[in-house]
């Protein structure tokens, strides 16, 4: 039997604190479209990076046509025939289509670029893909869909045999998706193997020949599309048991505290309305890019909203900028602590004090004693492990960093607490502490909106679940106890 075009077996990859890939097996035949699916964090991105040699695996092998591939750099992987089209396209916007296609491997004679030859070759490649793009156009004038095709053309000009597309349809309209599928069909015709990474199961079922499912960094199943179904794929994606990691709590739900009315910011958030009551933890879930984080940013004034209104305890509040939202009693623990939540190079006390200087610095004059007393209080209450109050937060563990962020907002006495992926990058023990804290805050009557991709976390913590897809709330689950991950996934993948 002939060796498959690509075989990856037993791929392992560890990052500090995370075992990202725990043995992934994957095969791709020439002229085949393989869908790679999995929950957020299942390891798809890391696997792609390993294939493209942007990351080196700790164990496992990659074979092309049965011959082991040793690629130390992305450039080497490219020469071996692997082309990866990332979600963020890698085109030089100010250069023409032709120049981008031939960037780094131009057609030259004695060191001179053969512009006419390049232009003709580019036109031929694009025509072969059945699209009408002017090779002389500047890339930034093209739509995302057209830029994608330029990347594919570039891959072809490099004689790629394996093309990987990471969420290629995330930013495309339905008509553009159809055109992209036409291009993928053309690639199949030429015997190129395509790995299609997507959350959109309906597209996967339409375009793919086979599907491989990843979960927790390992391959959990693979099947020809014809022999599987949407339900079967979802079950494979989420099929892990709900662990007993969520502390129980007394729920005492009061009046609506945060009411959001038709909040919009095209195209990320469309007409989002919901309420969170005092003492309630509401989970806002959905896939990456569904508009969860964007909704939180609108509520907090981090981005301006096109339309909609936010009220707290029955009063309409301004959220034009974070300062206004904070004054109204909203706080946000951002998804990305390191770049948005904290000033890493500064000390714990400085970070803690930043939103609270009205209290710690009456008339603008700092009273460091007041600040450190308050900080000590929270350090004890939240069990933050510090060497000193002036320790740079960059040197703290993820869990302790998150506690510092939490402390600064608790000091601010926020009524509405929005947490975006509160346990991302935090080890299991610290996770439980964070869950305890969220429960305790809810018990104090705060309204908590928890954004999370981790379905067990959503099911374990929330009193109510909101699911977003494509900028809209597509479902609400009131009876969390009876809900399943399948149910959520079903709403999330629409």
């Amino acid at each position: 039997m002939r060796a498959p075009l690509l075989r990856m077996s037993g791929i392992q990859k560890r990052f500090p604190g995370v075992h990202a890939l725990r043995g992934v097996d994957l095969e791709l035949a020439a002229g085949e479209v393989l869908a790679l699916v999995g929950e957020n964090g299942a390891g798809k991105s890391t696997l792609i990076k390993v294939l493209g040699a942007a990351q080196q695996p700790d164990a496992g092998s990659v074979e092309i046509d049965g011959a082991p591939l040793v690629a130390a750099t992305p450039h080497a992987a490219q020469r071996a025939g692997i082309a990866i089209i990332y979600q963020e396209l890698n085109l030089a916007g100010a250069m023409t289509v032709t120049d981008n296609i031939f960037l780094g491997h131009g057609l030259t004679r004695w060191g001179w670029v053969r512009r006419a030859a390049e232009r003709d070759a580019a036109a031929e490649l694009l025509a072969g893909l059945g699209v009408a793009i002017d090779p002389a156009a500047e890339c930034r004038t093209l739509s995302i869909a057209e830029q994608q095709v330029v990347e594919i053309a570039k891959a072809l000009s490099l004689d790629a045999r394996i093309v990987v597309m990471d969420e290629p349809t995330a930013a495309l309209s339905p008509a553009e998706v159809e055109r992209l599928f036409g291009v993928i069909g053309e690639l199949k015709q030429r015997g190129i193997g395509v790995i299609y990474v997507s959350h959109r199961l309906s597209e996967v079922l339409e375009i793919a020949d086979r599907v491989t499912v990843l979960r927790d960094g390992a391959t959990v199943g693979e099947s020809p599309i014809a022999a599987t179904s949407r339900e079967a794929i979802i079950e494979m994606m989420v099929g892990r048991k709900l662990e007993d990691e969520f502390p129980p709590r007394q729920v005492d739900i009061g009046e609506p505290r945060l009411v959001v009315d038709r909040l919009s910011r095209e195209p990320d958030v469309r007409d989002v309305s919901f309420a969170v009551r005092a003492g309630e933890i509401v989970a806002l879930t959905g896939l990456v890019g569904s508009g969860r984080t964007e909704t939180a940013r609108l509520l907090f004034g981090a981005d301006p909203a096109d339309a909609g209104q936010v009220s707290i305890d029955g009063q309409v509040v301004s959220t034009v900028r974070p300062r206004a939202a904070i004054a109204a009693g909203i706080c946000l623990l951002t998804e990305d602590r390191k770049s948005q939540g904290l000033i890493l190079a500064h000390g714990v006390q400085e970070n803690f004090g930043l939103p609270n200087l009205k209290r710690f610095a009456p008339w603008g004059l700092l009273r460091p004693a007041r600040e450190s007393t308050a900080l000590d209080n929270y350090v004890e209450q939240l069990q933050v492990r510090l060497a000193s109050r002036n320790q740079r937060v960059a040197t703290l563990s993820g869990g302790n960093q998150q506690k510092v962020v939490l402390a600064k907002w608790l000091q601010k006495n926020a009524r509405v607490i929005i947490v975006d992926e509160p346990t991302r990058g935090i080890d299991v023990g610290a996770k439980r502490e964070i869950y305890h804290l969220l429960n305790a805050l809810a018990a104090e009557g705060k309204a908590i909106l928890m954004i999370s991709s981790e379905l067990p976390e959503v099911l374990g913590m929330a009193d109510r679940i909101l699911v977003m897809h494509d900028g809209r709330i597509t479902g609400e689950i009131d009876d969390v106890a009876a809900a399943t991950q399948q149910e959520i996934m079903d709403l999330a993948v629409a």
Partner: protein
């Protein structure tokens, strides 16, 4: 284990106090290489000289012989001579003749001494006067027999580093005051991860506007004290406005500070020239629009700002020192200071923590402009309104800030560091000036290398400290 920790401690110490150590080493270095014969001429030296002379004579000689004190003209020499005479009299010398004046007058005075016809035991003088050929012992003996046994004495000279004199430090500090003031504003701007290239030009504009406003709005030669205050306020306000404009363009219009302030560098300089040529009525050559002359400020009293010496310390030094203290307190003890560091450390995180980022940035650029304005009025006080004031000051100020350990990447830096940085640059400049055989071009090379080395060290320090974290 302590042994292993000590290089770490050393590195920590150097990263904290490195610039200060460098400053002290430079002072030491320049003190070592440039020596000069020092000839004391203070009243104290005079008194010691008188004591030494008296010790050589017995009571009889003191009663009979004459003692002559001679010094050059000028305040200092007179005080010197008086101190000697005073001492002689206290030491029971009966016949003391004292004179301080020009050589010709001294010659005439010697004739009056001869007329007294009393044998002269000793002539006490200082180095300058004592070097006159008519005062050598031989010349005196030839002049008249009363000088037959004369000894001519002056305070003993000694070698002393040129650098280590009060005069030198006073001049050094006074000359660097304007740069030092601007460097304060520049530090704050750089802590926000910004830059202000316009300070030199804004300083010139402020200088010109101060002069013009005093001359034409606040009373000219008859300006009251309040008129002068108003002139100074105008200069500072002009600077603050230019800065606020920089700040608004860089925040609301999202133009990088490098570009905005580069534009302001040209605009402010152009405005300064334009105003100086059209309004500078003091300059007689107003017809030639090439380089306008400094606009003389009608009110003499305004010169006090740059020439005044309360407590013997030049006023610009006191102003700069006061500004450093205020700025240090502002940056370390107020919420504004915290906001400035936060904006520079992580602008997005600061915004999401409720810091009014735009307001902070506009205030910071306005402050920086105001310090340029303050330097401008000092310049106007010394030279009159100069449209050529502050050329390349922006680069010198940036150099001072960087050498003082403030990171161009923003989020960290200290006002005290900038003070040391400014002093380092001033010390090098002065020291090299005093060193024979170093040309201005070589000085530039040394400066450039110094800036490069300090920034590289800063980078290494960053790599080291983040690696250790």
């Amino acid at each position: 284990m302590e042994r292993a920790a000590s290089p770490q401690k050393l590195i920590h110490f150097l990263s904290q106090f490195g610039p200060l150590v460098l400053l002290l080493l430079l002072c030491l270095f320049f003190s070592m290489i440039n020596w000069r014969e020092q000839h004391p001429r203070s009243p104290a030296a005079g008194a010691r000289l008188a004591e030494a002379i008296l010790a050589d004579f017995d009571a009889e000689a003191k009663a009979d012989a004459a003692f002559v004190v001679l010094a050059g003209h000028g305040e200092e020499d007179r005080a010197f001579a008086e101190a000697i005479e005073d001492r002689f009299r206290k030491g029971d010398a009966a016949n003391v003749s004292t004179f301080a004046g020009k050589p010709q007058e001294i010659r005439e005075f010697l004739d009056t001494v001869v007329e007294q016809d009393r044998s002269v035991a000793a002539v006490a003088t200082n180095h300058r006067t004592g070097s006159l050929s008519l005062l050598s012992e031989k010349a005196l003996r030839q002049r008249h027999e009363i000088f037959a046994d004369v000894v001519v004495r002056q305070p003993p000279s000694y070698r002393w580093p040129i650098f280590l004199t009060i005069d030198n430090f006073r001049n050094l500090l006074n000359n660097t005051a304007t740069i030092a003031i601007i460097a304060v504003g520049m530090t704050i701007v750089i802590i926000t991860a910004g830059i202000d290239l316009s300070v030199g030009s804004v300083m010139a504009l402020a200088s010109v506007m101060t002069a013009v406003s005093i001359n034409s709005w606040y009373g000219g030669a008859d300006a009251t004290t309040w008129g002068l205050y108003a002139g100074a306020a105008t200069g500072i306000a002009v600077g603050a406005l230019c800065g606020a404009f920089n700040g608004m363009v860089t925040t609301y219009l999202r133009v990088p500070p490098f570009i905005v302030t580069l534009a302001m560098l040209m605009i402010a300089r152009g405005l300064a020239f334009e105003i100086a040529t059209t309004r500078g009525f003091a300059g007689a050559g107003g017809a030639a629009r090439s380089t306008p002359e400094a606009i003389k400020i009608g009110a003499e009293a305004f010169g006090y700002l740059s020439r005044g010496r309360p407590l013997g310390i030049p006023l610009p030094i006191l102003i700069a020192l006061g500004l450093y203290i205020v700025a240090h307190l502002l940056m370390t003890r107020t919420s504004f200071g915290r906001y400035v560091y936060a904006v520079g450390g992580n602008r997005e995180a600061a915004r999401l923590s409720g810091v009014p980022v735009f307001g902070v940035l506009i205030a910071v650029y306005a402050l920086c402009g105001a310090t340029a304005g303050l330097s401008g009025i000092l310049d106007a006080s010394l030279f009159g309104g100069r449209s050529t004031a502050g050329e390349l000051f922006e680069l010198q100020a940036i150099a001072a800030v960087v050498v003082g350990g403030t990171s161009i990447a923003g989020g960290e830096g200290r006002i005290s560091g900038t003070l040391v940085g400014t002093l380092i640059i001033a010390v090098i400049e002065t020291g090299l000036n005093q060193t024979q055989g170093v040309s201005p071009y070589q000085r530039q090379i040394i400066f450039g290398s110094l800036i490069l080395v300090t920034v590289v060290l800063d980078q290494l320090k960053h790599r080291y400290t983040s690696g250790a974290a």
